[in-house]
Amino acid sequence: MTGAGSAPTPRAGLAERQAELVAALVAGGEPPTGFAPGPLAATRAALLRKRAGEVARHWPLLAAGLGARWSTTFTDWAAGRPTAGSLRDGWDLARALHDRHALPPAAAEELAVREARLRYDGVRAPRPRRVPAVGRAGGAVAVQIAGRVRLLRPAPRVSTRAGDGVPDAAGSELWISD
């Protein structure tokens, strides 16, 4: 894509205005001049709801494990943080919850399986691992050999709080329309 750094064109005004609007909606940027705050807030919330649905489709056990808490957990984490795509958004959130010991067992298993299958440095797109690997999260252990992944040990179920609802799994990045 042509983008930042290209010579100024007659459309520079529109390009800047569009960039300001997107930054204000997804990256905590200053509201662009002249926009009413109410509709901006409604749009910001609607984008987060769509995004939560997309991430839930890519990380079904993360969303299901959090149950009724999925929606607020995701939007609290995602507000002001631009998307890196649904796969990475869910991965980053799962790791953050893991660090806070707040990852439900089913979600820990989902994360362990992904960690075993793909190499993800938190910065670039995840890539398939070329050599055998072990993925661990919250007591779950998954192993990958020649591209095949098995969950060796499930995460311990110590709490009864997980799975207390059905996630909003509406739509996905690939299939949602308008």
Binding site: Q18, V22, A23, P39, L47, K50
Partner: protein, 281 residues
């Protein structure tokens, strides 16, 4: 047997259709009268196996229209040639009679918005959309239909009425119109405008097909969710549209919170009845 270079194209959209999604592929496969579906283009691979449900529909000669959602035709920056090439490849492999995309932008300044955002109704935005549509048309094997979106916000930069903005884009690009009746309802409801007045001013003879979807009220605004039932007001607007000029086809979009099959069938039947099309169920 099909030749290496297929020139055979499915007929244009007709009657009542439904947005094909993997979650409801089984339901869609069992609709006996179905002649037309739409599929989100970014979800269809340009090569390799097609989702089996789509292959079956193609074998039944059901028309499949690729619907792009990530082209960002309204972006001030030139449309990404790789995204156009993907849409063109998908149109080719589905023998689609046309493709569709939105009058919207989805990214700017290196950030993805995650969904369709409205353009200012300014001359500068008209120029940007028309330039990008022309870039896309140069690579696409079939015509493109452009869909006006539902927006929760308006730009302070607006210079044109919605009807003038849309008509100018269609006139300058020669594109077809994909009219989303639920979006017309949503925008009119949220702006306090009359949806019929917009229908009266749009070039309805350019409509390739129309979208219909469900939505819900939150916080004093109507949200075009695609995860709720189609409201009566939207069905009535379908009737009003058809009374002016019936589009060749109407497509139901549902993107989540899928209801039981009987409810989805009832929505398709209600659409057929509002438009005077044969039932597909």
């Amino acid at each position: 047997m099909r030749g290496r270079r297929r020139v055979r194209r499915m007929t244009g959209p007709s009657g009542v259709g439904i947005g094909w999604r993997p979650e409801i592929a089984g339901f869609v496969a069992e609709l006996p009268g179905l002649r037309f579906v739409e599929v989100v283009a970014e979800g269809v691979p340009a090569s390799g196996p097609l989702p089996p449900g789509l292959t079956q529909l193609r074998d039944r000669a059901v028309t499949v229209v690729p619907h792009g959602v990530r082209l960002s035709l309204g972006g001030a920056e030139p449309v990404d040639p790789a995204r156009v090439a993907h849409l063109a490849a998908v149109a080719q492999r589905l023998d689609a009679p046309l493709v569709s995309e939105h009058i919207a932008f989805v990214r700017a300044g290196g950030l993805e918005a995650g969904h369709l955002l409205p353009l200012p109704r300014s001359r500068e935005a008209v120029d940007a959309v028309c330039a990008n549509v022309a870039r896309a048309q140069a690579e696409l094997p079939v015509p493109i239909a452009l869909e006006p979106i539902a927006a929760l916000l308006d730009w302070p930069d607006d210079e044109l009425t919605e009807a003038d903005f849309l008509t100018e884009i269609l006139d300058r690009t020669g594109a077809l119109l994909l009219l989303d009746v639920a979006n017309v309802h949503a925008n009119a409801r949220n702006r306090g405008a009359d949806p019929l007045a917009l229908l009266d001013r749009l070039p309805l003879e350019r409509v390739a097909y129309a979208h219909v979807a469900g939505g819900a009220e939150h916080g004093g605004l109507y949200h075009d969710t695609h995860t709720d039932p189609v409201p009566t007001a939207v069905l009535e607007l379908v009737g009003a549209l058809c009374a002016r000029r019936r589009p060749p086809a109407l497509l139901l979009e549902r993107d989540g919170h899928y209801p039981p099959a009987a409810e989805l069938r009832a929505e398709l039947d209600a659409l057929a009845s509002a438009a005077g099309f044969p039932a597909v169920t």
